[in-house]
Amino acid sequence: MQEEQVQQSEQNEGYRWGMAVDLDRCTGCEACVTACHAENNIPTVGAEQASGGRTLHWMRIERYFEGEFPDVQAKFRPVFCQQCDNAPCEPVCPTYASHHTEEGLNAQVYNRCIGTRYCANACPYNVRFFNFYNPEWEKPLHLQLNPDVSVREVGVMEKCTFCIQRINTAKIDAKANDETIQDGSLQTACVQSCTANALVFGNLNDPESEVSRLARSPRGSKLLDDLGTEPSVTYLNRETWHESGSR
């Protein structure tokens, strides 16, 4: 009886955040990447460092090309932290800087991170980034930092948080109004900026939410599913371009 109640309350009140990415809709415009940088105070490292492989993009658009010229098809895949339920990055952290929250997020506690970078090696998606130097912003960009997000210092790992600052604000607002967060009312920065509506964010515990509906789609799959990481992100495979007559 008690267990049932707990389960019920988890179903109704508990959130489990997830994302769905419709690869059919993604145009590869990278607006999400820019929005993510602006929202989360992600530093730019400059051309020299970037060429050495030290860019920090919590979100990236992977481009893959198929076919021979001129019959070439570009495929885009937005990749960001998959917020795995069985995350390889979490057990390896010696200080619990990388740990699992009750809402299914892989939280990164910047202040607790000592920079072993083990989590970044363990992550098969390569979505964890390291501050090799203290971050700097060219003037006047330093004036546009988001006050809701902390700036990370040198030696600290960082990664996509599913805009946890927005989640927390929405939760506080909902609690003040004595209601739960409505589906669609809470959007991460990347979702908000996606003109093609390729990204959908929401509560996976709510079976009626848009993201739950898409997660059940027969087109859905998980990235590197065979590793058993149980990601919270569902990718909806491309299908239409075969039929569109472009080939």
């Binding site: 050495g52 492989g53 010696p94 619990y96 000592i114 040198v154 030696g155 590793l227």
Partner: protein
């Protein structure tokens, strides 16, 4: 034992302690300045950020971790030679045990620094330790890095004990042979050793216990180091063979390091009479045995990956067999497998020089092995979009050079303050016949032909 031989031995081994030439100071200054440069680089890295190293995304671990595994591997010299040979009571071990145990202690001290050097925020390193903090936070015991901390600390403490225990009678000897402040210091270090039967009995049983205890510790410590890699779902890291593979490689490189150290001490401290060709021969045989075992493990590891043809692993596999990292791989195979077997396995080449050359090759090869385990796997992880590469910077090279200079410096100082050969053990054992009239060259030639 005839008193003449006894006196000569004491004289031979105390000479480096009592007489210092200008060459010693020059060598200390040389190695010391490289070590200082290493510390300065580390200081600069702490000040500016670990970005001065060559690591990047996706290769987040570079030379620092390669050197970490390498030096922990070198530290396995002492345990194998000393503990195993003590347990089986191989008498020829007597002149080389102290040297082996010293390598263990020094290589561990150096190796254990690298996890700190590679930290992004080293000033918070104590968060790795289980200390009572007011927030009630403990380290994450699920993390292999925490296992590492315990394994290496245990190994360091026990190998220091293992090194210090048999030094007590020798300290007492130095105490008795010197005067003034020097005698007083060595008197303190010898813990009031008087050489009574009770003292000897306690020392022997203490050494016996330590020799038994330290073997499982040594095996476990490099297994735990291998867990740093094999616990992660990274292509070609996630392998069950890593535990024994790492232990084998560690002992292999440890033996090679010991042979090199023995040859240097023999030459520099004029110990030709005590470190005889037979020692190099026996150590050479061990080197070949470990070379064969190591080759077997490499073959196993490569064959299963190639045959399994698992899509995530093929990127790493072919990068090391025929791609960017192939030159390093095949160099490693030649210096770790072909060269030792030719130079030590074939009797005609089995000279001191040949054994030392093979050992130098093995040290280089085992360093390359650690490089090949860490770097290609991180360069070619699952998502090909994020494949990358790595090159070290001046900072990593300076710190690496400093560690090699560091072990030279530690050895130099050690041989200045401690008899580098365990005098009492040599005296109680049936050491090579001391016939003072037999020319050294003859003895050497005899050994080489044997």
């Amino acid at each position: 034992m005839n008193p003449e031989a006894d006196r000569r031995m004491t004289e031979d081994f105390l000479r480096p302690l009592l007489h210092t030439t200008w060459k010693f100071y020059v060598a200390v200054a040389f190695f010391g300045s490289i070590v200082l440069a290493g510390f300065a680089t580390w200081g600069y890295q702490i000040y500016t950020g670990i970005g001065i190293a060559g690591i990047n995304s996706p290769v987040f671990w570079g030379f620092y971790l390669v050197n970490f595994v390498f030096w922990i591997g070198i530290s396995h010299a002492g345990t194998l030679i000393s503990a195993i040979l003590r347990l089986v009571n191989a008498t020829w071990r007597r002149p080389i045990t102290r040297c082996a145990e010293a390598i263990t202690a020094f290589a561990l001290m150096i190796g254990a620094m690298f996890p700190l050097i590679h930290l992004g925020r080293v000033w918070l390193f104590y968060w790795l330790l289980p200390y009572p903090s007011q927030r009630g936070l403990w380290p994450n015991f699920r993390s292999p890095l925490v296992w590492d901390f315990f394994a290496i600390t245990t190994y360091l403490l026990s190998s220091l004990l293992f090194l210090l225990l048999p030094m007590i009678p020798d300290f007492a000897l130095v105490r008795d042979k010197t005067t003034g402040i020097r005698s007083r210091i060595y008197g303190l270090l010898s813990f009031g050793w008087r050489g009574t039967p009770k003292h000897w009995h306690r020392l022997e049983s203490g050494m016996h216990i330590m020799a038994i205890v330290i073997l499982p510790i040594a095996v476990s410590v490099h297994t735990v180091v291998s867990f740093d890699f094999s616990m992660a779902v990274v292509p070609m890291w996630h392998s069950t063979i890593f535990g024994p593979y790492f232990v084998t490689g560690a002992i292999f490189s440890g033996i090679a390091a010991l042979i090199i150290a023995m040859a240097l001490l023999r030459r520099l401290l004029h110990l030709e009479y005590y470190l005889r060709p037979i020692h190099f021969q026996n150590m050479g045989k061990l080197l070949v045995t470990m070379s064969l075992l190591w080759g077997y493990f490499v073959f196993n590891e490569r064959l299963t990956v190639w045959y399994g043809n698992e899509s995530h692993e093929t990127g790493v596999f072919w990068a090391t067999q025929a791609g960017d990292y192939a030159p390093f791989f095949w160099t490693m195979v030649i210096v770790n497998f072909v060269v030792p077997i030719v130079l030590v396995g074939i009797r005609r080449f089995r000279t001191i020089t040949g054994t030392v050359i093979a050992s130098c090759g093995v040290v280089v090869g085992m360093w390359l092995e650690r490089f090949l385990i860490i770097i290609p796997s991180l360069s070619y992880k699952q998502l090909s979009y994020m494949w990358g590469s790595y090159a070290p910077t001046w900072a990593e090279l300076t710190i690496m050079a400093a560690t090699f200079a560091g072990i030279a410096l530690l050895f130099l100082l050690f041989s200045k303050f401690v008899p580098i050969i365990s005098i009492w053990e040599l005296k109680v054992g049936d050491q090579p016949k001391i016939e003072t009239d037999q020319p050294l060259a003859d003895a050497e030639a005899e050994g080489e032909l044997a």
